[in-house]
Amino acid sequence: MSSIRILYFGRLKDAVGHADETLDWAGGTTGQLLAQLRGRGEAWAGALAEGQVFRLVVNQQIVRGDADIPPGAEVGILPPVTGG
């Protein structure tokens, strides 16, 4: 069975309780992934609410809009950034 690896950064790591996870994944988009994760309950819906997610990264590429996530992908979920 296919899966993806999800990486959480910054405050999202604390909010969801871990830095990374492996998720069964037959295929789909970033929008479908976010909807699925938000569906895990109130804590997840809050942690991954619109203003809390700044960018999604698929296989080390920042993606815009509703992008495809192929099985086997690495997906980074990035909260608003605070560098410099």
Partner: protein, 152 residues
């Protein structure tokens, strides 16, 4: 254009980086440097440390891409970016941007552009550790987003 991007835990040295950059800067007449330092008294409680994390591989590639955008926009001969991650004490340097150009306005604008990018778009996250033992992830500032919007 010469372009050198590093994410590191070790401190950096402005003088050494300036000397190294000038080897690649050709006949540039203007060099602008920006150095950002950890502020110890920005909040009500004194800061003891700042912890920074990034997305290895992705962060470096994104900074390299934006440096290329800057080089397409201004006549630059060399760009050097160092961003630190890990635990930093107040007063320590966090970020160093050096830009060499034949024109001083180009050097100033490109350095400000790169800093605005690093503040608003580059994948870095800061956590503040305070003297009372508390800690918190830093909130993104609306003013930084406004600064970056100047270049859109």
């Amino acid at each position: 254009m010469h372009c050198d991007i590093t994410i590191q835990t070790a401190p950096f040295d402005l003088g050494a980086e300036e000397a190294a950059l000038r080897v690649h800067a050709g006949d540039a007449g203007a060099l602008v440097a920006f150095q950002g330092m950890v502020r110890g008294h920005d909040a009500a409680i004194p800061l003891t440390a700042l912890f920074l994390e990034h997305y290895p591989g992705v962060t470096e590639a994104e900074i390299r891409r934006i440096a290329g955008d800057a080089a397409a926009r201004w006549p630059l001969t060399a760009v050097r970016v160092i961003h630190r991650v890990g635990s930093l004490a107040p007063g320590e340097g966090i970020v160093l941007v050096l830009v060499a150009s034949g024109h001083r306005a180009a050097a100033f604008e490109a350095a400000a552009f790169l800093m605005d990018y690093l503040k608003t778009e580059a994948p870095f996250w800061k956590r503040e550790h305070f003297a009372d033992g508390s800690q918190r992830w830093v909130d993104a500032k609306a003013s930084d987003g406004d600064a970056a919007a100047r270049w859109a």
